[in-house]
């Protein structure tokens, strides 16, 4: 079990500390400050640290440390999950990027949340929607505050993620399929790693306790039905929000659920086969003898339908530290050498499908006393392609059944983003 949760600021001062057990004291914060915060070891050392017989598990939000302390042999995944859940709850109450000040101004609320989500060192109900119903000291108030007696009936119960008696004038469901493509290409064009992780975000504004059935073009389902023209997508693995009936999914791969009200992530999935890479990049980087010049040649091809376009395309082509200047020739967008990034950054607001672009750069280097080899970091690509999925996943249907039989409007969006899209040079 968890003995204590602390929130420290950048300097290692305690902002919030809630003791659930009396086997650790505030002195622990000092050892943490000395050994972790002052040593600036986040990132280089493991996020689990043992100091004086006490285990510290920590994560960060902005520049704050969220630390869980325990003396017993706890389950690390569970502790981290709680910490993230806590941060998620605080985000819901205090806004996405809540900072130190927001924390200080809402101490009462935070303590109250910490009391409700954890009792005597064991995590309790952490669902934001339910917490919101009865903890409303913060900025966030439920739009229609129900009667107190009604309130309490939702705190527990079999369906703890949705309360009864929700009413919406218009019944609407927004579905966002968000995919991020991870790619790692070796310098000679071999695919080292390639996968798509996707998530289905839903925003359900539905009346009552509707029963939903959701379908993707999952290969296993499509093959069974045998009527569809296109082959389905082979989904390697998927995980679901806890509202989804897993037993049903195991049996016949149908996704059925009673959704929480508002936004939630219905599922996540991973696809590794037959991925449509939205961008092909062919690099040629040459260092000249004597390390005075580097020449960079890039060809970028947008590998998707010309009906679509990519936005926010950013290519970061790394250059050596001692770069003096770079002469860049390119066909569109804006490119320039940015010394603070140690890279040539090429930005394109709108990149049409099937378009091709070349970029040539001559980089002059400053002579150095002791030439250091250049580590040649990979080219990093960022982009967003709306209405495109790299995995080929699309939503086949969403059916909503409710007693009253109302009509539901459904809106589906797709977007593919670059996750780790890197090309080694």
């Amino acid at each position: 079990m968890i003995s204590m949760i602390m929130v420290l600021n950048q300097k290692g001062d305690i902002m919030i500390s809630r003791q659930y057990r009396d086997d650790v004291g505030r002195a622990a914060a000092d050892s943490f400050r000395l050994q972790v915060v002052a040593a600036k070891e986040t990132g280089t050392e493991a996020p689990v640290k043992r100091i004086e017989n006490c285990s510290f598990l920590y994560t960060r939000h902005l520049n704050m440390y969220f630390v869980a302390l325990s003396r017993s042999n706890v389950n690390p995944a569970l502790v981290f999950e709680y910490l993230f859940q806590l941060i998620r709850i605080l985000k819901a109450y205090l806004g996405e990027d809540f900072d130190e000040n927001a924390m200080r101004n809402n101490m009462t609320l935070i303590y109250e949340l910490m009391d409700e989500t954890m009792d005597f060192g064991y995590p309790q109900n952490c669902s934001v929607d339910v917490l919101r119903l009865y903890i409303n000291l913060g900025n966030v108030r439920p739009q229609d505050e129900p009667e107190p007696s009604q309130l309490t009936s939702q705190i527990t119960g079999a369906i703890d993620w949705r309360r009864e008696g929700i009413r919406h004038k218009k019944n609407e469901v927004y579905i966002d399929v968000l995919e991020s493509v991870n790619l790692l290409l070796s310098s000679n064009g071999n695919v080292l790693r390639n996968e798509v992780t996707g998530g289905v975000q839903m925003n359900a504004k539905l009346t009552g306790m509707p029963e939903c059935k959701f379908g993707l073009n999952d290969k296993l389902v499509i093959d069974k039905e045998k009527e569809d023209r296109k082959p389905g997508v082979e989904i390697d693995d998927c995980t679901f929000h806890r509202c989804v009936r897993l037993g049903k999914f195991e049996a016949d791969r149908t996704i059925t659920f009673i959704p929480p009200d508002g936004e939630f992530e219905l599922m996540r999935y991973r696809v590794t086969d037959n991925i449509n890479l939205p961008f092909r990049i062919i690099p040629a980087v040459q260092e000249e003898q004597g390390m005075t010049k580097v020449s960079i040649n890039l060809k970028v091809i947008a590998n998707f339908s010309d009906q679509l376009y990519a936005t926010h395309v950013v290519l970061k082509v790394p250059v050596p530290k001692n770069t003096a200047k770079a002469k860049i020739k390119h066909s569109f967008g804006r490119a320039k050498y940015e010394p603070e990034q140690q890279a040539i950054v090429w930005r394109v607001k709108r990149f049409a499908g099937k378009a091709e672009c070349h970029i040539n750069a001559e980089v002059d280097l400053m002579p150095t006393v002791r030439p250091k080899p250049w580590s040649r970091p990979p080219i990093n690509v960022e982009f967003q392609v709306p209405m495109f999925t790299a995995s080929g996943v699309h939503v086949r249907f969403l059916r909503v059944y409710d007693k009253s039989g109302y009509h539901t409007n459904r809106w589906v969006r797709y977007i593919t983003k670059a996750g780790n899209y890197q090309i080694r040079i």
Binding site: S72, T108, S186
Partner: protein, 814 residues
């Protein structure tokens, strides 16, 4: 909450010796507190709940700032009488905060709290109960017990859930008071609560309260386990882990049940919850171990292949902290079942912007995945990482390359290609890479002596620019091993000439033994420099080892030992045989121990919990239930074992649950009775004509279970013994039977019946008889129903005869 940090905010000056005198602030604060006091007392605020809320909020804000607002105690207590939940909550917060520092004030408000525990709003009841238990005042036990007991039968789950946790607080506050009241039994009963969060809290509390019992936590039996597993989909991501953690402790009745449990758990792998997924893997693992036998390894392999996809998804999509912990767990699975993760090797390639601790971990996992198919890719990737700017990453990558070569899992030619890469690195002119490559080559050569010709050429040249001492020592060692290098003696000679500049003893020792090895091969070339080296080394007193070795060699040479003899002394024989690995890679014992503590910090630290967890926080791990294969109901035979057969899971929980509970709580009442480990099964046959049963026989619980399971149910004989009256306790029956050589393995009293597990040895034949007795208390007729299995019997007339003797003995005894 008394520990809130006093920040500098909202116009309140910082504490401590700031620029202005302290008294000034105290004054001003007092003023503010007084103002609040008058505001709270003001009649008009009574009518305006919004205003009142704001005032109380202010009080709480001051409290978290560290300002003493305890003077407002009585006013705050008045405010507790409200219908406004928010106000109420804040007042409770206030109360819990000041309870420790002002115990006398806190006792004053217990009445109010007790009254609130009976409020019509369940939310208020729950909050009041939590506040009451949270006060943690030793004198309060008597006030807490009653509301707690009431809360457990409350109509609302929120109150019950809080009440269950409250019990744990009571236990921590005063163990005697807790044990006096029969809370443990109630908790076992509450495992059937319709609300999942109540159930999971029950498990938490039972585990902690019963930590000192032989079970090391909650006692579980088949009914409880199946009941919980059947409801597993109702539990939230945190509470589901409580149930999953019980599974490894449970011994399934038979293999079918183990498979059944695994099927029930399978859907959990689809949840997006790392904690639940890992706990499920552990549960699966334990079931495979319970099945045991020749299939165990194959089953574990299946389990890991089943869990691979969800685990990889989690690793690739979750945050770095969770990713770290998951990777550690994946690593131990890879160690336990090599080969299964091989095809996912790309998942373990480094990403440029990952935190370094993850990179280190991935580099150390990669060599474990190498097989002939993927080895070229993995080697290429690691070779890429060698050029990383981070020195540690580059060192680790070289080491990982070496490990692939030494394990020889990369198929034919892999070790050689790695050796070639390492040789290239020697010439890279980057000090840490050269040195690390040299050290790695020394290990590779020990495993693959055939690669000497690949390694030899650059050695003498690289001796000049390898700077780090470990690397330099390795090069010198390699020069000694590869005596066919023509330049070897001359490269060493230069080093010998600059002997005084070497300040590291390891290099000197390597130099000494390498020169000796070369001397044995090519005495003519080396003789002169060896003389110079020995002269220097025998004078060198900086290292004892070096000095002694030099002296030994010197005296051997002086006494004119033959060259072959000398060579056999000098040869260090460090080559590793086929199929042998370096000792540190084959630490099977530690790995097996760690797998027992899967899903804990032990895996993250790579150490057993006993080595880093303080003793009072260690939790005993015991498999249970020991008695339960004795319930033949689980095998569908002898329906007398469990009332109601195997139909209703919910109903079944009630009957067997309290028995172990009582047993464990009382501590003295041992369900198993026997603990004799030395007892061998059939004792030598007693001479015939004596008492019908051999009194010297004894069995252990495991033997009993195995024997019972081994005999087919169709061979059992059922018999009845009429009793004069229903016995008062199991003890009565046991002592009476023991006098006639019938021993008790275990017994228990249920509300409706007595159960006995007995055994006896037939004196003339030496055959063991296992007896199960049931005595129904409710039927009014005192009839002990026996189910007897004879070990080694033929199931025919002779068995029947033995059972008749037994029945006769027992009826006379009772």
């Amino acid at each position: 909450m008394a520990t809130a940090y006093p920040p500098n905010q909202g116009g309140v000056p910082p504490e401590g010796p700031a620029a202005m005198p302290d008294s000034y602030f105290t004054e001003s604060r007092k003023g503010e507190v007084n103002e609040l006091k008058t505001l709270l007392r003001n009649f008009s605020t009574e009518r305006d709940p919004k205003r009142k809320r704001d005032i109380i909020k202010k009080v709480i804000a001051y409290m978290t700032l560290g300002i003493d607002v305890s003077r407002l105690f009585s006013e705050m207590m008045l405010a507790i009488e409200t219908r406004d939940l928010v106000i109420k909550k804040m007042v409770y917060l206030y109360l819990v905060n000041y309870a420790r520092s002002h115990p006398e004030l806190a006792t004053m408000c217990t009445n109010t709290l007790q009254k609130d525990c009976g409020n019509e709003d369940p939310m208020v009841r729950g909050l009041a109960l939590r506040a009451l238990c949270g006060l943690q005042l030793p004198g309060m036990v008597e006030y807490i017990s009653e509301p707690l007991r009431r809360s457990l039968t409350d109509g609302h789950a929120y109150v019950r859930k809080t009440g269950v946790m409250g019990m744990l607080k009571l236990y921590r506050l005063n163990r005697e008071a807790f044990q006096e009241s029969s809370f443990v039994d109630i908790l076992y009963d509450m495992l059937r609560d319709p609300d999942a969060s109540v159930v999971s809290n029950c498990i938490i509390v039972l585990n902690e309260v019963m930590a000192d019992s032989p079970n090391g936590g909650m006692a579980i039996n088949r009914a409880i386990m199946l009941h919980l597993l059947n409801r597993i989909h109702e539990f939230s991501e945190f509470s589901v882990v409580q149930i999953l953690d019980l599974v490894p402790k449970y011994i399934p009745a038979n293999n079918d049940e183990a498979y059944q449990i695994m099927n029930l758990l399978d859907p959990v792998l689809g949840r997006y919850s790392p904690g639940a997924v890992i706990a499920t893997i552990r549960a699966f693992w334990s079931m495979a171990e319970a099945v045991g036998g020749p299939d165990e390894e194959a089953m574990k392999r299946q389990i890991v292949s089943r869990c691979k996809a969800p685990l990889v998804t989690l690793i690739s999509s979750c945050s770095s902290e969770l990713g770290y912990s998951l990777l550690k767990h994946a690593e131990s699975l890879i160690d336990a079942v090599p080969g299964v993760f091989d095809d996912e090797y790309r998942q373990f390639f480094l990403k440029y912007n990952e935190p370094t601790h993850i990179k280190y971990l991935k580099i150390s996992i990669l060599p474990k995945l190498a097989n002939p198919e993927n080895a070229p890719d993995i080697v290429a990737e690691l070779a890429e990482c060698v050029n990383d700017m981070n020195i540690k990453i580059s060192r680790y990558s070289v080491r990982s390359l070496m490990q692939i070569a030494c394990r020889d899992t990369g198929g034919p030619g892999c070790a050689e290609s790695i050796a070639r890469r390492l040789v290239e690195m020697l010439d890279l002119n980057v000090s840490h890479i050269c040195s690390e490559a040299a050290t790695s080559l020394a290990s590779v050569i020990r495993k693959h002596p055939g690669l000497k010709s690949v390694i030899a050429p650059p050695l003498s040249r690289s001796l000049k620019y390898v700077e780090e001492s470990s690397g330099k020592g390795s090069i010198v060692y390699l020069l000694g091993e590869c005596s066919e290098v023509t330049m070897a003696p001359y490269a060493l000679e230069k080093l010998i000439d600059t002997y005084d500049k070497i300040d590291d003893a390891t290099i000197k020792i390597a130099l000494l033994s390498s020169t000796m090895k070369l001397f044995c091969q090519r005495p003519a070339e080396v003789q002169a420099m060896l003389g110079r080296l020995l002269a220097k080394a025998t004078d060198d007193v900086s290292s004892q080892d070096l000095h002694d070795r030099a002296l030994l060699y010197y005296r051997m040479l002086e006494s004119g030992v033959d060259l072959p003899v000398l060579a056999s002394v000098v040869d260090t024989k460090t080559a590793l045989g086929q199929g042998v690995n370096f000792a540190e890679e084959d630490d099977f014992e530690l790995r097996a121990e760690l797998m027992k503590e899967f899903n804990t910090l032990s895996i993250v630290f790579g150490r057993e919990s006993k080595n880093f967890i303080a003793e009072e926080f260690q939790v005993k791990f015991a498999k249970q239930p020991k008695e339960h294969p004795l319930e033949p109901g689980s095998e569908g035979a002898a329906p007398s074992a469990i009332p109601g057969g195997g139909l209703d899971v919910l109903g079944k929980t009630s009957a067997p649950a309290p028995a172990p509970a009582v047993a464990a709580a009382a501590g003295s009442f041992d369900l198993l009775g026997m603990g004799d480990p030395g007892g061998a099964a059939p004792a030598p046959a007693a001479p015939s004509g004596g008492p019908p049963f051999n009194a010297a026989v004894s069995m252990t619980g495991d033997e009993y279970q195995n024997t019972w399971g081994a005999i087919n149910d169709s061979q059992s004989v059922v018999s009845m013994v009429p009793l004069k009256k229903i016995p008062g306790s199991t003890q009565e029956v046991e002592t009476a039977l023991a006098r006639h050589g019938i021993k008790t393995m275990a017994s228990g009293e249920l509300p409706t019946e007595f159960k006995f597990f007995l055994y006896a040895q037939d004196s003339p034949t030496g055959l063991l008889m296992l007896i199960q007795g049931n005595l129904d208390k409710q039927s009014g007729e005192a009839l002990l129903v026996l189910t007897v299995k004879v070990n080694g019997g033929d199931g025919g007339a002779s068995d029947q005869q033995k059972v008749d003797t037994l029945t006769a003995v027992m009826s006379s005894a009772l």
